[in-house]
């Protein structure tokens, strides 16, 4: 107890940072897969599917992640699933990320110009073929910058997993602080670490966006 910041503390923080990255990757993959389904459901020809997915998005976007994490942590257990903090955090983040990515991607899919949909239809392509071969490849290009930008949000939001006892960067900082009691210094280190993880992504997303801006104007028909 007490003493000064030593290599063990830094390693512990580093381990937390790795978990933050790991959790972010899990959330991105899980949220990406579910979000993709949500995006498709939001533009489904079936009204009930559209309504259900819209409700899901509204509910999740209207609830703080912190509360979703609590619900995931205790709720999954309450319905009889024994889950570790990792599973609970992953599941909650997945649900959360899916709602946001789903909306972002829906916007991107719908921003593929209507004539492209019609041209694909006119070639007798089936709905699945139109989606997979014509619309999605174009939507992916549009979706890349906002998706990269959203990854920054994911990384930052994993810090909330600390409140259900998951030892990621934030929680590892709290634990180290608990043995050193230098809150300002330790939280500053944590802030810098988060910044180092997030800022490159922010920059990358901004660059992509600018490049897209140019590319898109090239694509405008004569």
């Amino acid at each position: 107890m007490g003493g000064h910041l030593n290599i063990n503390h830094l390693m512990f923080l580093g381990q937390g940072a790795l978990w933050t990255i790991g959790l972010s990757v899990i959330a991105l993959i899980g949220g990406g897969i579910v979000g993709f389904v949500i995006a498709l459901a939001r533009i489904s020809p079936l009204k009930s599917v559209r309504l259900a997915s819209a409700t899901y998005v509204q509910l999740v976007q209207g609830t703080p992640l912190l509360v979703i994490l609590f619900l995931g942590y205790f709720g999954l257990a309450a319905i009889g699933l024994k889950v570790s903090p990792l599973t609970a955090a992953s599941a909650s983040l997945t649900l959360y990320v899916a709602a946001y990515l789903g909306e972002i991607w829906r916007g991107c899919i719908q921003s593929v110009p209507k004539p492209q949909w019609e041209a694909a239809e006119g070639l007798a392509l089936s709905r699945t073929q139109r989606m997979s071969k014509v619309i999605l490849p174009q939507a992916i290009r549009i979706a890349t910058p906002p998706t990269v930008g959203f990854m920054v949000q994911i990384i930052k939001n994993t810090s909330l997993a600390s409140v259900v006892g998951f030892v990621e960067l934030m929680r590892s900082g709290q634990i180290v602080n608990n043995s050193l009691f230098e809150p300002f210094a330790i939280y500053a280190i944590i802030a810098v670490t988060y910044f180092a993880m997030c800022y490159p992504l922010s920059l990358f997303s901004q660059r992509l966006e600018r490049r897209m801006g140019r590319g898109r104007s090239n694509l405008a028909p004569a």
């Binding site: 509204q58 509910l59 976007q61 209207g62 609830t63 703080p64 992640l65 912190l66 509360v67 979703i68 609590f70 619900l71 205790f74 709720g75 257990a77 309450a78 319905i79 009889g80 920054v152 930052k156 939001n157 810090s159 909330l160 600390s162 409140v163 934030m170 809150p183 300002f184 939280y187 500053a188 944590i190 802030a191 988060y194 910044f195 997030c198 800022y199 922010s202």
Partner: protein, 227 residues
């Protein structure tokens, strides 16, 4: 499963929930107003020709946008205390939320400013309006109108994010939930109720912003253009 849901046991604590919800709304309201001001200033700062001000604004925006709110709150809370400054948890929470949402507002407002056609500003200059008058009458309101949906979403997100203020002893909705669930040991029921309350709060806020939009943008009201 051994866990049985018992909502009445938790719901009888409704005065606490209500107090928490009110505090959450208060936090969001203060931070929204102050953050809108701070963010607008930062957006203006970023557009100035003064490299120092522009650089400082950019550094502020990027730092905040790339670190978690939770860390920011701890830094403000314990940082101020280390400097010997003591404020109430509410004041610190408002300050941290303001700093946070200000950065996002700045980015949104910047986009709004950039969307104002150059000709509008020249026309105003030609009418001998001062710089300040131009900013106020010609740039600010139309810019806000252009980015109003993005702005209001950001402020709703802020309200939701204020849940982390429970960490620094602000007794907002999530703090109340934590207290009640550790008192009644009915975690699941408590958090479901709280989730519902947050959804209601965000609907309330959206409705409020919709009404405010009607007041702020009479043209939209008259011409029936949706916001």
């Amino acid at each position: 499963m051994s866990l049985q849901l018992d909502f009445p046991a938790v719901l009888e604590r409704w005065p606490s929930f209500l107090a928490g919800a009110v505090l959450t709304l208060e936090l969001a309201a203060f931070a929204t107003v102050l953050g809108a001001l701070l963010g607008t200033l930062a957006a203006v700062g970023r557009g100035t020709h003064n490299a120092l001000i522009a650089g400082a604004s950019k550094a502020y925006v990027e730092t905040i946008r790339n670190t978690p709110l939770l860390v920011q709150i701890f830094l403000v809370y314990f940082g101020l205390a280390s400097l010997g400054l003591k404020f109430s948890a509410f004041a610190v929470a408002v300050a941290a939320l303001t700093i946070n949402v200000g950065a996002y507002t700045a980015e949104i407002m910047r986009a709004g400013f950039e969307a104002i056609p150059r000709g509008q500003i020249e026309a105003a200059e030609g009418l001998a309006l001062s710089r300040l008058q131009i900013y106020w009458h010609i740039i600010l309101l139309p810019a806000v109108e252009k980015v109003y949906p993005a702005l209001t979403s950001q402020f709703v997100l802020l309200m939701l994010a204020s849940s982390v203020c429970s960490q620094i002893s602000a007794e907002e909705l999530t703090a109340v939930a934590n207290y009640i669930q550790s008192d009644t040991y009915r975690a699941f029921e408590t958090y479901i109720i709280v989730a519902v309350l947050y959804v209601i709060l965000s609907l309330v806020m959206r409705a409020g912003f919709w009404g405010l939009g009607l007041v702020l943008f009479p043209r939209r009201r008259r011409l029936g253009t949706p916001l």
